[in-house]
């Protein structure tokens, strides 16, 4: 369905005097298959996961590389193709308080895409579809007459999911959709996303820093570190048997809600001496980015960028230890 091919996004930050370049996404390639699936895009803050999501949504253009939808570059689409793409690829963001227009009642918010994409032939049909969608996301019909400020964070995310259902999108880019929601409510939103994935055959690109929540949803996983995908593959393969030193540390460091399964030993990582943002980007790109923190780094890791190695089917790692 979507192919991301060697995509790089460079931002220029700072003023006139201290302008510098930040590589948010660095030569990333992966694809999202046609059949419904959920891919977790995992990384810490600053890893480029949100930028990659925004690129796929077409909000920003890549500096290099292409993003293809059924073989077509999304930035060279004709007007109606582009409209269809925007219909099929929808977004859900972290902050549900900012994603709903405060002046619109829920019913009006949901009517908007129905009109825009001419989904229903009459107002009655539209309302019927809206009611169905509201029911599918576990909300009561009364909510239709409420304004966003009368809703909780969880209810807002449900409204946004209802909107996506109405449009019948093929792919939902969900960027940290539950990180502002408390655990007890979070579980039901995650379950709802899983149901939508199964029942309506909608695919998700689930962008998160939290591998535990991804466990509930994801079929496969991409782990990003400073703009690069360091490891990817089937969720279980990567998470149960991580190969990249960074991913190993990441998985080992997830706190477990069970006092019988505490962490063993201490975490072994080096702290880099400089702030990462001040890195000389040319030098930085010519080697593995995890070098200075990696306890297994070899000489070669400092000299060349690591190759992508296929450990087994559906499991790739970008690290010299496996070359």
């Amino acid at each position: 369905m979507i192919e991301v091919e060697n995509v790089t996004k460079i931002f220029h930050v700072g003023g006139l005097l201290k302008r510098r370049r930040v590589i948010a996404v660095d030569n990333v390639s992966f694809s999202i298959p046609d059949k419904p699936t959920t891919i977790a895009l995992v990384g810490e803050s600053g890893s480029g996961k949100t930028t990659l999501g925004r690129l796929i949504l077409g909000f920003i253009k890549p500096t290099y590389g292409e993003i293809l939808w059924n073989g077509k570059n999304i930035f060279r689409m004709k007007r109606n193709e582009w409209k269809l793409y925007r219909k099929n690829v929808q977004a859900i963001f972290q902050d549900p308080y900012e994603s709903l227009d405060p002046r619109y009642k829920v019913v009006e918010t949901l009517m908007e895409p129905v009109k825009k994409f001419k989904i229903a032939s009459s107002r009655e049909e539209a309302l019927k579809m809206i009611r169905n969608a509201i029911e599918s996301v576990g909300l009561r019909q009364e909510i239709l007459d409420k304004y966003p400020h009368q809703l909780s964070g969880g209810e807002r995310q449900r409204v946004l999911l209802a909107r996506v259902l109405l449009i019948n999108a093929k792919l939902i880019v969900a960027d940290e959709p539950v990180s502002m929601i408390d655990a007890s409510l979070r579980a039901s939103i995650l379950n709802l996303m899983r149901d939508i994935n199964k029942k309506f055959e909608t695919s998700f690109l689930y962008i998160t820093h939290d591998i535990s929540t991804a466990y509930i949803l994801a079929d496969s996983i991409l782990v990003m570190y400073l703009g690069s995908i360091v490891e990817s593959g089937r969720f279980e393969k990567v998470v149960y048997d991580p190969k990249h030193p960074y991913v190993k540390l990441l998985i080992e460091s997830i706190p477990v809600p069970d006092p019988k399964r505490k962490w063993k030993g201490t975490v072994k990582i080096r702290e880099s001496e400089e702030g990462l943002l001040s890195k000389d980007i040319v030098k930085f790109r010519s080697r593995c980015k995890f070098c200075e923190r990696c306890i297994e780094a070899k000489e070669i890791c400092w000299k060349k960028p690591p190759p992508v190695i296929e450990i087994e089917r559906d499991h790739k790692v970008s690290c010299f230890l496996y070359a």
Binding site: E44, I189, N191, Y215, P257
Partner: protein, 322 residues
């Protein structure tokens, strides 16, 4: 050591309210607990349950419209709620240090980290030489894996995770008997989170420092807390040894919390909790969890449950156990 001597901090029936135009918001409403010497006491609860207000109230750092509406906070024999400013200033940093949640704003932006450390030390009339301060800082920084340049940096030159750890450095520099850490890992990545939690555990074991760890994440509490307290809507619902609370959660809310989180590789099915926490200006009569509770009886709607010791050291506030 007798049992009493083993208690470092004793909070009794603490009430902290926020003034509003209508009824006050009862953010902390009759909370009682004990923090023992040399233990990590986890305070677990979701947003708005009063856990941060509680942290501020212990050191009397809350500002209007919040006010303390009763209760006692005993550090050994000293009631902090009645102590004068001078005594309080001696206690802060030296006996009890608070690591506030917003590490971004907690440090002075125009002072280097080292100068802020010196400031705390001079303020408490500890006669450390510059060299001693550096040595002591170095020791803590090594444990926190903070590079040495941090000492001579301004807060704006550090990343969020580093600022968070710089704040911990400041809190532990005078070897306080209690450190209250309010969500010390909420803005950092998982690896740094683990590093910070390991640090707290080391301080506890090496110096016998008690730590009150406030968190919304029961997994964080499960990793390092010796005992935990579960809060909901300004109330204590359950207190007990971490192992007991996880093995045998008593309160329906505690059970729901555990059902809501996945365990990687073991538990994929999670269950959410319907409904929302109550409006604390007009909390429901009876048990505050009753509108969302599955094991509801008539009594729950009428009578507020008291905290009862159900098994050794395991307390719960729920009518089921009466």
């Amino acid at each position: 050591m007798s049992l009493e001597e083993n208690n470092l901090l004793k909070v009794e029936d603490l009430r902290v309210y926020y003034r509003t135009r209508s009824n006050p918001v009862k953010a902390v409403d009759g909370v009682s607990f004990i923090v023992k010497r040399g233990e990590i006491f986890g305070v677990v609860g979701e947003s708005g349950c009063g856990k941060s207000t509680l942290a501020g109230a212990i050191l009397r750092l809350i500002e209007p419209p919040a006010y303390i509406n009763g209760g006692r906070v005993l550090l050994k024999d000293l009631n902090l709620l009645e102590a004068d400013e001078e005594t309080l200033n001696k206690v802060r940093w030296k006996e009890i240090a608070l690591v506030p949640q917003s590490a971004m704003n907690a440090l002075n932006p125009v002072m280097k980290i080292f100068d802020q450390i010196k400031d705390v030390i001079i303020d408490h009339k500890c006669n450390f030489s510059e060299k001693e301060i550096r040595e002591k800082s170095k020791e803590i920084m090594d444990k926190l894996m903070l590079p040495s340049y941090v000492l001579n940096a301004y807060p704006c030159q550090l990343s969020g995770g580093m600022r968070q750890r710089a704040l911990l450095l400041l809190s532990f520099i005078l070897n306080p008997s209690l450190v209250i850490a309010d969500e010390p890992t909420s803005a950092v990545d998982v690896i740094t989170q683990r590093k910070i939690l390991e640090f707290l555990d080391i301080q506890k074991r090496e110096y016998g420092t008690s730590i009150m760890l406030i968190t919304h994440d029961i997994a964080v509490a499960a990793e390092i807390a010796d005992r935990i307290m579960v809060m909901y809507a300004g109330k204590t619902l359950e207190i007990g040894d971490t192992s007991k609370v996880f093995e045998n959660p008593l309160h329906p809310y505690t059970k729901a919390l555990m059902e809501a989180v996945p365990i990687l590789g073991i538990k994929k099915e999670v269950k959410g909790l319907s409904g929302l926490p109550p409006d604390l200006r007009a909390p429901p009569t009876g048990c505050r969890f009753s509108p969302r509770c599955k094991c509801l009886s008539e009594k729950c709607k009428l009578e507020e449950p008291e905290l009862l010791e159900v098994e050794d050291g395991h307390f719960v506030s729920c009518h089921i156990y009466k």
